[in-house]
Symmetry: C2
Subunit: 152 residues, 2 copies
DNA sequence: AAAAATTTGTTGCATATGTAACGATGGACT
DNA sequence: AGTCCATCGTTACATATGCAACAAATTTTT
């Protein structure tokens, strides 16, 4: 077959799901990253770590890794930075001294609550711009992909 | 208000769209990355660059940046690596010698076609696992987000 | 109880990435 | 032509990331 006839081989990236998902996710995340960058100069791993501790209240580094799918060194470094900002405190587990329990300080809670507000506003804007039907489709498809990824 | 009452401030990450989109996109991409890593030891920027040149046939580095949203240094380095593998050739534009036109070599075409096949199979598997209704919802919502991002 | 294996979190090192500066070229304006 | 500015792609440098090795603690095996 003529090598230049790529009709059988071409892969329009606009129709490739991995590509489109990544573009969409990256743009949305970058847009939201502006918020925590400009307010607090935070990185993405730091924001995710803060948000995870904020949500669970008391959590270990390992649990953050499991919940967020971030690499343990990324989490370890984010925890270090958040600790330096005095946004979290560590408590060594008395039954297993390898384990550290992490909690937000008052300052950390404050930043978390402010950014949670920003996040909800951001999400509302997206949903508003998408409209009810598309929002519903997005929920449906994300749930489907999540089920595919993490079959409980 | 009691600081520990975070009912107003909590942001369940399982309901935050930026977070969910990223998790989904990252998992799907990582799964597909196994394919081009094991076959060719390629990185993600290299695969994306190959796929973009493959799709357009003749393209410049700048156009790859615009189409893929990759940073120009990432594209520059991917082009360099693909060139070293003899998967692409550069041709300096005779009207504007700053510009280089990129095309795949025969070897590059071969790799591109093979990986395109793998990609389509991968996509078919995802769509098969999602089912028609969820696939349709995914298409709809991705289009909606894309419109939101790139309003023409 | 001693030895071996596992787990939690950190760190050294190599790689990957982005920013800013750059060289080369081209275009605009005088 | 000469000066200034913009553009294309590369590179130097600083930062971010992941892998592998690690220390410390715990559990399992013998």
């Amino acid at each position: 077959m003529d090598q230049n006839n790529i009709s059988e081989a071409v892969l329009p990236l606009e129709k490739f799901i991995a590509y489109r998902l990544n573009q969409a996710a990256e743009k949305v995340s970058q847009r939201f990253a502006l918020e925590y960058k400009k307010r607090y100069g935070m990185t993405r791993p730091e924001w995710r770590t803060l948000a995870t501790i904020g949500q669970f209240g008391n959590i270990t580094a390992k649990e953050i890794c499991q919940h967020s799918s971030m690499h343990k060194t990324k989490v370890s470094r984010a925890i270090f930075t958040l600790e330096q900002r005095r946004w979290l405190k560590r408590t060594v587990d008395q039954n297993d001294r390898r384990v550290e329990h992490l909690e937000l300080t008052t300052q950390g809670q404050k930043a978390y609550m402010e950014l949670s507000d920003v996040a909800r506003t951001f999400q509302d804007q997206i949903y508003g711009a998408l409209g009810a039907a598309n929002t519903s489709a997005l929920e449906t498809s994300l749930e489907a992909i999540e089920t595919l990824i993490d079959p409980q």
